[in-house]
Symmetry: C2
DNA sequence: CTGAATCCGGCTGGATACTG
DNA sequence: CAGTATCCAGCCGGATTCAG
């Protein structure tokens, strides 16, 4: 247990905040099975806007989780891929995904119970 | 891999959104080592406002991750504790914490590199 | 096709004051 | 002590437009 995590100025807190981003998790998962083009990601992650996709990818690139490769072709082609660091976080995020699907029914039951009170 | 996760209307997406909440992760971690009173949580999770703490606890309670026990004493006392479901997600969240502390240096180095360009 | 830039409505979340 | 209520600034994020 790292007590500093609860300190708002601690670096690990900032990392948690980044992972806690609602889109980052989904984008990382979308890159799980290999490189993806910008358009493929936009199609895959339902509901994300262009702005948020670009912003999320920039953030992930900045944190060293994703690489961005521009091919000087016409039409332009940009590939995004997970780095080693990105793949290491993928393991955790995939765990979240498993948890979500496994316990979905329990959570929904709890919600229904709570709302019915 | 569950493809539906990327669908905005899928239930598992909603679960991910909840876990992805920036405060939920911290509150769950704060409850890792046993019951906590409202005030203890407020003190522990640095930077959270009363409003957000209450709101986060309600959300976690609704999802069945946390129990809320009111003691009819003067002064009033309210204890929060993880449910079995909450403890199951704690394992994952603790993994995030480990990752954050382990790879913090790499992430910060990547950020510095990116910002220096 | 892959973005950057801008505008702007809405919701998040902080500060404050009040209640049981 | 443990909230609730209210107000409101700020930022998130969507839609649109423009550029390379």
């Amino acid at each position: 247990m790292n007590p500093d995590l609860f300190n708002r100025n601690c670096g690990s807190r900032k990392v948690i905040d980044r992972i806690g981003d609602r889109w980052s998790v989904l984008v990382v998962l979308a890159l799980a099975d290999g490189d993806k083009r910008y358009g493929e990601l936009a199609e895959r992650v339902d509901g994300i806007s262009q702005k948020m996709l670009t912003q999320t990818l920039r953030g992930l690139e900045r944190d060293g989780l994703v690489t961005r490769t521009v091919h000087a072709t016409v039409p332009p082609r940009v590939d995004y891929a997970l780095t080693d660091l990105g793949r290491s976080v993928l393991d955790l995020v995939a765990g979240l995904e498993d948890w979500a699907t496994t316990h979905l029914a329990e959570v929904e039951a709890a919600r229904a119970r709570y709302d019915a009170r």
